[in-house]
Amino acid sequence: MSLAIDLASWALLVAGGFFCIVGGIGLIRMPDFYTRMHAASVTDTLGAGFMLAGMMLQAGLTLVTVKLALIGVLLFFTSPTATHALARAAMTRGVQPLLADGEGAPSKR
């Protein structure tokens, strides 16, 4: 039984590590600021999420698991807020996104 849990936990941790690395690769490969933020959000959500789940399996039914879950909840609320603030600040300061259809500025309506 504990072997099964260990295996599941390992699988989750490795998956989390995989998505963190993918996020890092994306950060380098993407062409501009905004597309890089999309790559970073893979690390934020899938990377951190799978790792937290793996650690929860290691901790079992204890208060440590509760704390790990609370870390997850915290990330769940703060990471999109930070991403949005960053994107908005960049847009306000005039960082032009690279667009597929036609170049340049979004219509300010």
């Binding site: 994306g26 062409p31 999309h38 959500t45 208060l63 704390k67 990471s79 949005h84 259809d101 219509s107």
Partner: protein, 158 residues
């Protein structure tokens, strides 16, 4: 008043979970802290429908599993794009009108868009969202979406 009492209960439960000590003195101290924090918040007048949205009940908990599933799906798509040697991105901006009425609903919708990899909400307003999508499809996917309908349901609209 009911909202304040409910805040005390939630804060105290939070304190218990984080501390893990159950001696009489510490539990009493924790309860006193919860009451004190709510008293301060009461004086600052931040205990309202926004600071403690208990009128939503348990509906947010029905929304979260669906959102997690969406995060998994779109995260996997973005992963495939990143690992694709051709890097098939087609960044697109899209502006649309969200159908939420309340601030909590709008914030939840905007945060959900940002949380799913492949889409970021850049500008958020009452009558228009500006969303940056990694591909044409992901940008088009946020307009009048399933997410829009589900957030409306959880904020209590039909």
């Amino acid at each position: 008043m009911l909202r304040a009492a409910n805040s005390v209960v939630v804060l105290f439960a939070f304190w218990l979970l984080l501390s893990g000590y159950f001696t009489a003195f510490l539990v009493t101290a924790g309860f006193a802290c919860a009451v004190a924090v709510v008293a301060f918040a009461w004086r600052m007048e931040v205990i309202d429908h926004e600071g403690h949205p208990m009128h939503l009940g348990l509906r947010p908990f029905a929304y979260v599993p669906w959102l997690l599933k969406e995060i998994l799906k779109s995260g996997w798509q973005v992963t495939r794009i990143i690992l694709d040697p051709k890097l098939p991105v087609s960044p697109t901006l899209v502006r649309f009108r969200p159908s939420q009425r309340t601030d909590v609903g709008l914030v939840t919708h905007a945060n959900s868009i940002t949380l799913t990899p492949g889409t970021i909400s850049v500008e958020v307003g009452r009558d228009s969202f500006l969303v940056h999508g990694l591909t044409r499809e992901s940008a088009a996917g946020v307009v009048a979406s399933e997410m829009d309908r589900r957030v409306c349901r959880f904020e209590g609209q039909r």
